[in-house]
Amino acid sequence: MIVKITSSGGLPGMGIDKTIDGGRLPAAMQAKLQAAFDPAVLRRLEQATPHPGAADMHDYRVTVTDDSGAVHRFKLSEASMPAETLDLIDDL
């Protein structure tokens, strides 16, 4: 699994651009990545609406290339992503 993440928005109006290659991670990390960026999971998170008053949070564009080579694209709000997934983005 290869995960490409870019973000926009945020107080400075600038974001990150990161590509994580699951194949290069230790097995335990790889399992975490697989679970957090499972396209079925992301599709569900994509339906979430951030709190209407929220401001300066990031919007993430996530492209997941699964092991079969299929490409899945998502647009996710920082507010709707689980803390563990955000921690994973920060750590990797």
Partner: protein, 369 residues
């Protein structure tokens, strides 16, 4: 407007009252056709229940004006001023994303020794004081809301935000940003809370850029008032000193000269326009909410220069009153400008210097009103 979908955030699921602000439901209950009115009333009742449960903060804070049925103003203008009740809770995020984190300092506690936590605590007090002393507003919701902030949010996090209930501040990555607990930034984030509880401004396109601009304006006013700076003394910067040591720039944004705050290989160039002719059309950043805010920001600055004196006095009062009376979450720049002119007329009279100069300021950024 979608009335049937669910809202999900922060790991909990709850229904429509989160998506449609209460004041809009009230309008629908009054003005909608029978079916819509019935649904809106049912949702309002649910909302009341939810509010009692205090599961999360309500969004609107709007009340009907007794003497003018169908007219809604923020309860901060409608009600007699409440006594100020300052209550701060500062948490340590420990570089992780979970909110709020570990409690570090509560109201009245001595300094924690954590510089970010103490800056967030002191800053929240200064912002509370501006709204309380100058605008008779008791906290962000006008009702004594506890000011909750998390510092050390996430790792190398180049951002600060208001999530609908609390403030969160990253430490920055040390390269592009070195801190986010600077007073104008704290004022900016907390003002997003004030906007939310004043009826809200949809975080997209022009209404989103107005939300951003109002946050910048009051963020700057907190700083100016704290340091006793008049219009000429103030630097009109938001986020001065938060950029990394090697970044070529002075701040995040400049109300005085939008587009000039920084120009750097890492950070790029400050993209803010100061005139409608330079309005940026983009799908990023919710339609450039942090970019096009430069236009109303600059109108506010010009107006303050025309009037002189302290910006948080006449100009601040007009901006605050316009926000309380706007009752239009989808407002365009032109609609907001008209609301500010209405506020200037109400406070200072038709044809007053305050009104004439305000129209001139808006005209100078390309907005005729």
């Amino acid at each position: 407007m979608c009335m049937s979908s669910d809202c999900r955030h922060f790991g909990h699921r709850h229904s429509i009252q989160c998506i449609v602000p209460p004041h809009m439901l009230k309008v629908l209950a009054l003005r909608g056709d029978d079916a819509t009115a019935k649904m809106a009333k049912a949702l309002l009742q649910q909302n009341e229940k939810l509010r009692e449960e205090r599961a999360e903060q309500p969004v609107g804070g709007m009340v009907a004006v007794q003497s003018a049925p169908g007219v809604f103003v923020s309860n901060a203008l409608a009600a007699a001023p409440q006594p100020a009740t300052l209550k701060r809770e500062i948490f340590d995020g420990g570089q992780r994303a979970t909110l709020p984190g570990t409690r570090l300092r509560g109201e009245g506690d001595p300094p924690s020794g954590d510089a970010s936590a103490d800056a967030a605590y002191d800053g929240a007090g200064d912002v509370f004081d501006l709204y309380s002393a100058e605008f008779s507003r008791n906290s962000l919701d006008g009702n004594g809301l506890t000011l909750t902030a998390t510092v050390h949010h996430r790792r190398n996090y180049n951002n600060a935000f208001w999530d609908g209930r609390q403030m969160a501040y990253g430490d920055g990555d040390g390269r592009i940003f070195q801190t986010f607990t600077e007073l104008s930034v704290i004022g900016h984030e907390m003002t997003h809370g004030v906007v939310q509880f004043s009826g809200g401004l949809d975080y997209q396109g022009q209404s989103g850029a107005l939300n951003e601009s109002i946050a910048d304006v009051f963020g700057s006013l907190v700083l100016q008032r704290k340091h006793g700076q008049d219009v000429g003394d103030a630097d009109w910067l938001v986020g001065k000193g938060i950029l990394g040591p090697t970044i070529n720039g002075v701040a995040l944004r400049s109300l005085k000269a939008p587009g000039t705050a920084y120009s750097d290989v890492l950070l790029g160039k400050d993209p803010q326009p100061y005139h409608m002719d330079l309005f940026v059309t983009t799908t990023d950043d919710n339609g450039g909410v942090h970019i096009n805010s430069g236009i109303p920001n600059h109108a506010f600055f010009l107006y303050c220069v025309y009037l002189g004196g302290n910006a948080w006095e006449r100009p601040g009062q007009i901006w605050y009153r316009a926000l309380q009376k706007l009752n239009n979450p989808m407002a365009t720049f032109a609609e907001w400008a008209a609301e500010t002119v209405d506020a200037a007329i109400e406070l200072h009279g038709m044809g007053s210097l305050e009104m004439v100069m305000l129209r001139r300021a808006w005209k100078l950024v390309g907005i005729a009103v």
